[in-house]
């Protein structure tokens, strides 16, 4: 059922409407009336004949008309009776304000589940519970107790937290930001963040989607809905709870390095969601996206009436990774030839404190016609000799929708007074250059995301059945840690190059294997009880002849038995020494919400000490994989440094894509490390030198 009827009803009933000022049932009814809703408004209360001038009915069933939207202002214990009455008036939507559900614990969660089931049976879409309701400015419907009707506009805000929904409304009013809708989604029992994204993507009244979320339940659906929405219009989200990393049992490097927040970051990036870190930036960004066009590039022209403020703005632009754009040749000449010489053809353009507002206009128009300028930042400081209001009025005449223009008017009260006029004229206004620049940066990044090439995920030819057999056998026997031998077996089936080798269970076997594959060989202990082999002396490299192969076998097993008494030793893996190259780590950890997250990092210290790693959600394209490599600091190492040639980055990207395919094909793989993955020069085949995987247990049979 569409949720559109919920937001655009012909008639609204408030069950639990009250005559007592201050009660929620009163506030909501009063808000609906005051908002100017033109449909039928029906208060329901058995103890009243009339409320706020409207005839009141004892129950929904007795109101004698169809009701599209029912707002329940009753306490939790009475909500069920409301739902039961809904079919009598053919209600399509229900808002449940009451708290006392999932947010209170397991008992509440059961109540909430029951409520959802009841609504589904009654064919009702449910907003809440534990919410403030919603406001829709398009039909003047304020079905909430959030506050007064905001101005009409094209930004829609939705919030999981009721209290922060109030904050958002308050902030929007304070900034004179017009809203299309304000939606308090509460516990998201039925209508979720995903539903909101899908609905708002197609909502013609909404040009910018802004959300506050504390959790995302279905990661995959979220990514799909968010990407769809972001392809249509900007989606800006503040996700809180970034640092409270959940404790998670993990043995892989990849798992250890992925923080609780990494998956959200990866998901937002994938789906084109613009992420805000604070409420202030949420609104800073929303204002720019709502009022101005996207920039075509990252060249910023700064126009200022104070040198110091210009320096600050230029600092901010450079720190944000954008460019302070010098004047073009022609423009430079024109500026110099101007008889007044009102400004120097440099950037920041300092038009000096006490000039005519017309000079701002001249400078802005010059920037608008300069093809090397992608965005314009106007900086204004209050100067006692000239009131800024006149300048503001002059500046807004320049807004033509061709290039984004943002303004930083520094100072206090006087600037605040100008905000209404400027915003109404379409100029996003900030109190500091830094915040204006942050908004420009967000616009630039979104513009770049929109221009991304189509995603084509390569499917490699692999031996899927072999992996299926290995994994299901391991899951059946409960041996969920795959060590080097089985790990390499799986990877080999997915096209990874694995050195020739075999498991020896006696010293004689070890020498036989070594002779067969040729020296030098590597010898490694194989035991389900030992994770970090090398720490315990379980790895010997460059074993170069028969005698030392035999000795190594005996010595290693002896040592391990001493160090880890009771360890089950399956034998020693003897394999061809990997050729030399650069050691990198590629791996995967499965996020409960967002699925497989791929990791890349340079081996050893770069991962362990510097934590210089990047993550990306699977499935991954070749281009994305190469982008992963490029976004590590240590990327320069891959390109080669003084006196060293680079390595085959495409081969690493291919490894990441193969892991992507493997872990997408097999959801039972929870974690995977290829460490080290040894890569050589261009055209050489990278080698899996060691590997490890963790599988999920088979679901218990009931």
């Amino acid at each position: 059922m569409s949720i559109d009827t919920l937001f655009n009803p012909k008639s609204v009933a408030v069950v639990g409407a009250s005559r007592t000022d201050g009660k929620i049932g009163h506030t909501i009814l009063a808000n609906i009336i005051r908002g100017g809703f033109q449909g039928a408004i029906i208060p329901i209360n058995p103890a009243a004949k009339e409320i706020l001038g409207l005839p009141c009915f004892p129950s929904l069933g007795e109101c004698g008309q169809e009701v599209d939207l029912v707002v329940s202002a009753l306490p939790q214990s009475l909500v069920k009776t409301v739902v039961d009455e809904c079919p009598k008036v053919k209600a399509k939507g229900l808002i449940v304000i009451a708290s006392g559900y999932q947010e209170t614990g397991p008992d509440g969660a059961i109540l909430e589940q029951e409520l959802v089931e009841l609504c589904t049976r009654r064919e009702l879409r449910l907003l809440g519970p534990n919410c403030l309701g919603f406001i829709n400015t398009a039909n003047n419907l304020n079905a909430s107790f959030a506050g007064d009707m905001p101005g009409s506009g094209d930004v829609t805000l939705f919030s999981q937290s009721g209290a922060l929904c109030s904050v958002m409304l308050d902030m929007a009013n304070d900034r004179h930001m017009g809203l299309a809708k304000l939606v308090s989604v509460g516990n998201k029992a039925d209508i979720s963040g995903v539903d909101m994204l899908a609905y708002l993507a197609k909502d013609d009244d909404t040009k910018v989607i802004v959300g506050y979320l504390e959790d995302i339940v279905s990661g995959k659906n979220f990514i799909k809905a968010a990407e769809d929405a972001a392809s249509n219009k900007p989606v800006i989200i503040l996700k809180s709870g970034t640092t409270s990393a959940g404790l998670k049992a993990t043995v892989s490097h990849t798992g250890i390095l992925a923080g609780a927040d990494t998956a959200y970051g990866a998901a937002f990036k994938r789906s084109g969601v613009i992420r805000a870190d604070t409420f202030e930036s949420l609104f800073d960004f929303a204002s720019a996206f709502s009022l101005q066009p996207l920039p075509k590039g990252n060249n910023v022209r700064i126009i200022t009436n104070a040198g110091g403020a210009g320096i600050m703005a230029a600092d901010a632009v450079e720190l944000a990774g954008m460019k302070v754009q010098e004047h073009g040749q022609n423009e430079r000449k024109a500026a110099i030839q101007q008889p007044q010489k009102i400004f120097k053809p440099v950037n920041p353009v300092d038009i000096l404190g006490d000039v005519d507002p017309g000079v701002y206009v001249t400078a802005i128009k010059a920037a608008q016609t300069d093809s090397d300028v992608d965005a314009i930042l106007i900086v204004l400081t209050p100067q006692a000799m000239k009131r800024p209001a006149e300048t503001a009025s002059a500046i807004v005449t320049c807004i033509d929708g061709t290039k984004p223009i943002v303004a930083a008017f520094m100072g206090g009260h006087e600037t605040t007074l100008l905000r209404k006029e400027l915003v109404a004229a379409g100029l996003p206004l900030y109190k500091s250059p830094e915040r204006a620049v942050a908004a420009l940066k967000a616009m630039g990044e979104y513009a770049a995301w929109k221009k991304r090439p189509p995603r084509t995920v390569t499917r490699f030819k692999v031996n899927r059945r072999r992996v299926e057999r290995i994994l299901s056998r391991r899951q059946r026997t409960g041996m969920l840690q795959l060590g080097e031998v089985k790990g390499k077996d799986v990877l080999g089936a997915y096209g990874f190059h694995v050195p020739t080798g075999a498991l020896a269970s006696t010293a004689e076997e070890a020498t036989e294997i070594a002779e067969r594959i040729g020296y030098p060989v590597a010898m490694k202990i194989v035991s389900p009880d030992i994770v970090h082999k090398s720490d315990l002396g379980g790895v010997f490299l460059n074993v170069s002849n028969r005698e030392s192969a035999e000795d190594t076998y005996d010595l290693m097993t002896l040592k391990i038995r001493k160090k880890v008494p009771g360890a089950r030793i399956e034998g020693v893996y003897v394999e061809k020494m990997a050729s030399k190259g650069l050691e990198v780590i590629i791996g995967m950890t499965r996020d409960p919400q967002f699925g497989p997250m791929l990791m890349f990092g340079l081996g050893g210290i770069f991962v362990e000490v510097m934590k210089d790693v990047t993550f990306h959600l699977a499935p991954i394209t070749e281009q994305e994989a190469i982008q992963m490599l490029k976004s590590t600091k240590s990327y320069a190492m891959l390109q080669g440094r003084r006196g060293q040639s680079g390595v085959d980055v495409v081969a690493i990207a291919s490894g990441l894509q193969r892991i992507s395919q493997l872990t997408t094909d097999f959801p039972q793989i929870l974690e995977l490390d290829i460490n080290p993955f040894i890569v050589g020069e261009f055209g050489s085949e990278p080698v899996v030198a060691d590997a490890r995987m963790t599988l999920a247990p088979l679901p218990e049979e009931k």
Copy 2:
């Protein structure tokens, strides 16, 4: 001469006072009168008999009384005549508003120099030129055209930029921040930032010093003045121009890695200056320091009326490196035993949206008596059912000056209305938890700096005379690049361990030296024309016998001659192979303002690729040197990792201290790299494996 008379004059004359509204000479006079200054106010203008009700005189000399402070509102061309008249009225201070001096270029700089000299001869202290004047609320003197008189308070603002001085005044008024003084220092021709720090450190009206600076001319004096001031009261500075790195000719790693901003960062850290990155944080910090005591530790208790906002606050606290403090055992018990169960004994304390303001009070008092809590963050979201004003009034009754309390009242207009009351009651108010936390963090860092141990710089016994001889010979001959041989010579004299070695100029000599010091040896080309020896095949390691020593000599000299035709080859340096160990880089680059800046980083890729280095101004203490090591990401490498033991960090610290002493003793050393500096286990002697220095040319004789 003290600048106190300038700020506290008994009489003020405005030269160039005007009857025309809008002219600077009118505004300043009007500001002085309107501000309520109780001393004599004397307008000077030959064309007027009376201005704004005051008798006007044709010239200073004709006013017939002593004038402590003269404000010149005249254009630059007339300023000299004003200075010449000053002695006639025994003036002590002069404010020059006019621009047209140093900021315009070399000609203006000469005019400014002349102005300063003239003032010095006339025993006048000069504020400006190119400034707005100053405001002193203690004597109601607004000798500026900055704007209206701000409220009285204990924060003093000073600014190098006039336009940003207006911004600061505007922002202070907007935030109801009371000011002691507002000083526009302009071009700082006489009264500089250093003078302001020294004066304000002792100014009883000033509790918090806040400055905006674009440059610092005398780094050493600045550090001293700032450290003195910061030992008395908080000094918060915004320094702009951080990214516009000046191009600087440099050959050392240290020089390349030190950005234009590195020295400022190091200087501020050394001197206890609290650095703000934006104007908003400048005021955010000032407000907290002005109104609240410093925290004793970094445990923060969060009290909120909305769960979501509490999560955001907790995120911010953790990201800032502070701790979200759980309730203590006793307090936990008390909270649980409370019959009302008004809040759960967790942190953030969520007191829920619609409770009585008294619950805030209970929660705050609990935090105040809990010895595990160092700071309290109150988060409030507007809730439609309860106006925040009542809550605000209740909260401010708790302020007792024992622990810092800061508040984040989220939302818009309503919060703004409360600000005045809250600030008046001593509660710093922020619009978001993030900004409140940033202020707490700044307070915590300043508190930690105040508790720093006394700085004792070790003086090592060294052979200073030997270095003196080497350097002056090189300076005289103009050979300012010291390569490996001479570099090691200098370092050896300062107690560094240098491998035994000698310069060979023939293959025979090379073998003789090698035989004498014992194999294996390292052989390196010595040429003043070759900086990166190893890139050109000028380094051979592990030469292990007579024959290969001879061959190496011939081969190396042959190759280098081919690769760098015309290079002056002095020979080949033959030295004992350094023992194995961890390679680090220590070095120095001399900042024009702040002098020698020491650098530390792990060798090779860590410096070249990861740029993982730290800087510190010389002279350095042992503790500071160890802190330098600890503040690199790669510090974990020094401590040893899986299966590897750590290295002698104290020995590295000692190396840094020796460089500190060397480069403090010899200002002619401009740059110095020890790369690599090979360090081993604890107790082992680190080795200078290679070194390089750049000297300053001798000053030209006149």
